[in-house]
């Protein structure tokens, strides 16, 4: 991406900015800047896939966040943070409960959430593939549903 605009464009456009803030993006739970712990293992595509997996599983069922939260016995706000905050660090207990509701391996889901060391490279690959194929807001498309079903199969391996 290369911008090629004359100085005059900025000269005029900046005047319209005024004395206002410009921030955008989900802000989620407050966390002191500069005090973050060491990055968790798996902090990358798999973690994003965890949030998207939760969102797609819920939408596929036609559930809202409150219903999933109730089924799992966790807080609705935690469900929303898992789905939309890439910095969210879910409680292991919440991940266990969600795995139970989803009917998938809790170990695989913990790995996906970045809470345990990744022992399955294939899970990471599948998570990356799943993440780039899923979109979080609209109704599930056929492609998303197929991606979700394939990913559930992967997560269910070794269950029991």
């Amino acid at each position: 991406m290369k911008l090629n605009y004359p100085k005059a464009w900025f000269e005029q456009r900046i005047e319209t900015e005024g004395q206002v803030e410009i921030g955008a993006g989900i802000f989620a739970a407050a966390r002191p800047v500069g005090t973050a712990a060491e990055p968790r293992t798996n902090w990358c595509a798999p973690h994003l896939a965890f949030g998207q997996f939760v969102a797609l599983w819920r939408r596929n069922k036609g559930w809202n966040a409150a219903r999933l939260a109730a089924a799992a016995g966790i807080d609705r706000q935690e469900v929303l943070q898992i789905e939309y905050d890439p910095q969210c660090e879910p409680e292991p207990d919440a991940v266990f409960k969600l795995a139970d509701v989803f009917g998938v391996s809790s170990r695989a889901l913990l790995e996906l959430a970045g809470l345990v060391v990744d022992r399955a490279p294939r899970l990471r690959e599948e998570a990356s593939r799943f993440t780039v194929r899923s979109e979080s807001m609209a109704a599930l498309s056929d492609v998303e549903r197929q991606a979700l079903e394939a990913f559930v199969t992967t997560l269910s391996e070794g269950k029991g």
Binding site: M1, V20, I22, G23, I26, G34, P86, Q87, A138
Partner: protein
């Protein structure tokens, strides 16, 4: 990585100064964030009551950058002026428009955008530089055009920034989004993007 020449307005002299917009957040940019942005934000937050801290004061750009690096459909941008980091933005092209008239069409979604603490009127008077928001919106629009999305962009504004997107940039306000912590969702159409680009 490409660098574009852009301009910001110096808050003290009121003159335009040259700046560089990079279409990738690099480790060097994150080092600038660590060395100057983070301490400045901590200073501003130190004496502020909890409810008056900047809404993005806890954002960890190093982690955000690590989380999205290399993912298809995700882009990042850094704005540098006089060897200082002035702003950061991350976008994706995996969401679709919601506004009637362009519903379902692909767009560029601004995941995160923020200006350095010293450029914020609430934190420093006068701000060191003005125009960071305009540069990033222009970059998002151009990215949308390059992707064939005709300038369509969307974002969830932090509460303090809503007037910037609606009144200063010409976005459509679609209202609070319960799936995004009730942040107000804004979208720019092809026509609005054209108006923004051809302002001069």
């Amino acid at each position: 990585m490409t660098e574009s020449k852009v301009y910001l307005r110096d808050g003290k002299s009121a003159g335009l100064v040259e700046a560089g917009l990079f279409d990738e957040i690099t480790p060097a940019h994150l080092n600038l964030w660590d060395r100057a942005w983070v301490p400045a934000m901590q200073d501003y937050c130190a004496g502020a009551p909890p409810g008056e801290k900047p809404e993005d004061s806890h954002w960890d750009w190093r982690r955000k950058s690590r989380a999205y690096r290399g993912m298809l459909g995700y882009s990042s941008f850094a704005l540098v002026c006089r060897d200082e980091l002035q702003g950061l933005m991350m976008t994706n092209d995996v969401t679709s428009a919601r506004l009637a008239g362009q519903f379902g069409k692909p767009q560029i979604y601004v995941e995160f955008v923020a200006t350095a603490p010293w450029n914020r009127p609430k934190l420093q008077d006068p701000p060191r530089y003005r125009g960071v928001g305009q540069v990033f919106i222009l970059a998002a629009i151009e990215t949308s055009c390059e992707a064939g999305f005709k300038g369509r962009i969307g974002l969830h504004s932090l509460p303090d920034a809503e007037s910037f997107y609606e009144q200063r940039c010409g976005f459509h306000r679609l209202g609070p989004d319960s799936s995004h912590q009730n942040l107000t969702y804004f979208e720019m159409t092809e026509t609005q993007a054209d108006a923004f680009r051809h302002h001069h």
